[in-house]
Symmetry: C3
Subunit: 438 residues, 3 copies
């Protein structure tokens, strides 16, 4: 069960079709972010989603894939401690090194280029959640270019491109090396940590925290978009996890039912955990937090779906849902972080939880169990100790060059009018003053 | 053309990918239900959809698949009249008996577990249509657990798991035995009859029937959601019907175009029938009823799509659309049943019509025509004579333990505020008083 | 790389699954059209979409496929200039000539029947964009029947059915003959030219042009629908382009990544071009025009996606986005054409641009480069010189028989109330008077 440059034809075909559907996850996440914001920022939220997807595709095309690479292709390595540390891909820019002719031998790399392009798109959507309602469109595009062109490919190379994290197994006998089936780390934790950096840099929305630091609830404008987005995200994740399982961890098509059942069960149990916890705490289940739980369950499943039994997926989902629900509140109350979409908890925390859980629940035959948890820990440590500072520094620099936060006017009149010159719903009569000072 | 435990690899691959997309049908149905209700219940409708999907997945994982099973696996049978009557599956609980390792030999059962999980999810969405705007979230989850964990698996075993209805052909020479390609019976009629039970138990919404019993129209709050949901449902049904045709009736990949053309034609002709009938009766075509017709056409096609020529699919769709349109009104006017989503007509009646139609239009080569209609009649009789009383009794019991209907306050202020503590669209100004007393 | 009646089994399977997802493009386009109109016409826009899809499926079933045909099947030809000019298919009506039994040998034709049915559905959605807010439902259905039953199949036969445009390569040495991978010509240019005819025949909406001919902006009612629709359309086009590449130009499954990367890059660069141009011109990026750019990029990619390198796709997308953005304004300002959905520019112009671009950028190995551009020019000349007059004449005739435009009342009160008797959002309070006289 290892990725290889040459996939069997049928396996490659299934992988290709599943990749075509990964943008459903993007559509779902965009809709969730939009619904969780206020109506005066709704067009801006969707427009930003479309634009960062476009920028991510362009950046990934220009240099992203070159640096992500694929196992067996050109890469740079450093020798240290008697081992080679493969640290970045070395493919030609502009996808010029990929053979798109369609021969079997080259199928792995061309599929990786496509999946990488869509994965980078998912990663850049995540910080939009935490920067919602105050992040300038131009800045979010610049930040997306950095994330899709550099940060994401770098970490993805380490995990999926034959880099040093993947080789921890071969080099140091840590299980199968750092494993991440569908991107809980490469896409979601990387995106979630970028979301954290953005929330820090942009600071809270006006009116979010009162003088005494108590957070005010600012409800989203459309719960139907949020909950419907969860259903689309489910399908996107089903296909993303399947494609990742085939391409990056080398399972066969026969494993697809397990991957999908685990994905569904993890999302389901996470939602139920969120609903029960919010019901216990607030007397009524909270729809937004339950939606966050659902996506958190999907994210956690991304790490483990090909390697665990369904009962483990239920357990992992339950913990993911609980973590997300508690963390969303905790970040607000105790760290005074304003994350309107819950992106830090849903993608960052649940992703990291999934990666760690893989270390404990990897029981299926074929696993090389011993010390797998150490490999997972190394990956998580890299995320927190290297990716987070890197993504913070780059976004801090960007903020220096040109402030990322919209001016006061933008927040007052809404980003739609301020940055796009038109409201999302120009005909609707709203009573916004109920919720926050304009 | 019989289901078998070991599918050819490529056929299994196509089936697997199609199953991943079945939740599009769930997304479509959830959106339709939501749009057909009023805005004060919109978040509740979507939240209920997400929760019952989660509960159904969990229940199906715990025991549902064990009892549904798959042809050739362990099952209990009773001897009566010199024949063995296979009546329930006997797989270990928690999916422990399914080999997810990915070998060809086990592909049938693992695919059936996945498709069954999503099918159970579709089934539990259906009663949400008839119970809309007054069904407590907790009760709908409990009801979903029973439906997905017991009623659905039981009937699905009889049809798809090698049970006695499927064996009517072998045992009594009734054609190929009771046939149901994509779930017109197992999913939709079962769900539609549960919807009928729920509508009876919950009784009509306040204000739906005036003193003299005349029904008041309570228009849905978002026709765009309803009609857009139809398009998503189409894609979900295309994939559901394809997956069912491969997995449960054993057709090859080469039949996919026929399955899909029949599905599309049936939905199309049903919509046109609904539009023409409503135009004739009311002077103008009715969008909601046309949407109901569309889904009714999809449901009817589920029974027959792999077995009939396209011209027959057109005819079956026309009748389905007409039946749904007339029945929605008839249930209101003459039986005083309040079914806001039209679930009883759309899923129950159209499903039964599709099953009966299969008895008459099954002309393709390979059919064992004679007496097929008797097998279909036996299945429909079982639905009406056994499944309906069973599902009514179980939901009646549930209602005894804890009343399923929300209190008067819930209806007055809307289920969103009452059960979730927040409106779906908190910023929008609405004039609800036009439509019904609060 | 030529289409053939017998596809390899696995290739046919991938093609079949991708075709099942083509309706996602229809769902996306319908949502875009709806969002670009005003709220008083929203239900009408979606209802028209559903109805024309249904009518198109029926018309294509009755006679459309017979006339489109497939290479190697019965067709009529005329001898002229010593060459045979294959001009129309000659399959039996009602799909009676297609072998749906599922043998490999017949897979090409049955897949073509299915893809053709969905393609015809896409084509008929396009004129709904230009006729929005004033086109009677009955007339749009009649017009759709003609488009799906005659105009589309005729041109599609010439391109994809073995007709004379496809044979320009064999007969006159013009490259590989007129090529159109996914329908930039057959679906989008044909639909876009029909949209032009409809816009001419219906004339502008009341209040669109002031006395002096200056256009008034009439903003759409829901930017979220518009931008979200773009994401759904992306997935639909990914699958449509893949299916067309396999079925109509004979590429193997290994080319799917190239097709998909080109599609994504073209849409991305087109959006960025639109956003930058509108920002330069108006000070702020325009969300609606950027959405139009996105779809224009998808349409242009449809022509070329299987034949060009990714860098070329970026360039083609940039030009497509620029063309759409400029053309939308130019049609309004200089030709006084009222096209609320931008259908003429997005589908007609971008489609034609894609076809011409194929003549210049077709560099991949296997291309028979020389004179390919002449074949493309011949196709575009046929579209402008034959298809446009034909579609105009037929719609003009239809308009003679029964006026296609709704009466003044319809525009005043909204098509929802006028033609369907109910609003899309009956509970919402709107302030429509801000935008246009009722």
């Amino acid at each position: 069960m290892n990725p290889s440059a040459a996939l069997p034809d049928m396996t490659a075909a299934v992988c290709a079709v599943c990749i075509l559907l990964v943008p459903l996850a993007a559509a779902g996440l965009a809709l969730i972010n939009t619904g969780l914001g206020r109506s005066r920022n709704a067009a801006h939220a969707m427009m930003s989603s479309l634009c960062v997807l476009a920028v991510a595709a362009a950046a990934y095309f220009i240099c992203g894939f070159s640096w992500q690479g694929f196992p067996g292709r050109a890469a740079y390595a450093i020798e240290a401690g008697g081992k080679m540390w493969n640290w970045i891909g070395a493919d030609p820019l502009f996808l010029r090194g990929v053979d798109f002719g369609g021969s079997s031998a080259s199928s792995g790399a061309s599929l990786a280029a496509l999946l990488g392009m869509f994965s980078a798109g998912l990663a850049v959507l995540i910080p939009l959640g935490s920067g919602a309602e105050r992040w300038r469109l131009g800045s979010s595009c610049a930040s997306a270019a950095i994330l899709a062109g550099w940060t994401y490919p770098l970490f993805a190379h380490w995990v999926w491109g034959g880099g040093w994290l993947a080789e921890l197994g071969v080099n140091f006998g840590l299980g199968r090396g750092f494993a991440d089936v569908g991107g809980a780390g490469s896409i979601h934790a990387v995106g979630g940590l970028a979301a954290l950096a953005i929330a820090w840099i942009l600071r809270p929305r006006r009116g979010k925290f009162a003088q005494e630091g108590m957070p005010t609830a600012i409800p989203g404008h459309n719960a139907v978009f949020v909950l419907f987005g969860c259903l689309l995200a489910l399908i996107g994740f089903l296909c993303l996890n399947t494609a990742g399982a085939i391409l990056y961890v080398g399972v066969g098509v026969g494993r697809v039912p397990l991957v999908a059942i685990n994905t569904m069960l993890s999302a389901s149990s996470a939602t139920l955990a969120s609903a029960l916890i919010t019901r216990t705490r607030f007397g009524k289940p909270d729809a937004s937090l339950s939606a966050n739980g659902w996506v958190g369950g999907l994210v956690a499943s991304s790490a483990v779906c090909a390697f665990v039994i369904p009962a483990a997926a239920v357990l992992i989902g339950l913990v993911a849902g609980a973590l997300v629900t508690i963390s969303v509140e905790w970040l607000e109350l105790h760290l005074h972080i304003d994350d309107p979409g819950g992106a830090i908890s849903v993608h960052g925390l649940a992703g990291i939880w999934g990666l760690l859980a893989l270390g404990f629940f990897d029981h299926l035959p074929g696993s090389s169990g011993s010390h797998q948890w150490l490999a997972q820990l190394a990956g998580v440590a890299t995320l927190l100790g290297f990716v987070l500072p890197l993504t913070y520094a780059l976004n801090w620099l960007l903020n220096r060059i040109s402030p990322q936060r919209a001016g006061l006017d933008g927040e007052r009149q809404g980003m739609d009018l301020h940055e796009l010159g038109a409201n999302a719903y120009p005909e609707l009569v709203t009573h916004q003053e109920d919720f926050t000072p304009r």
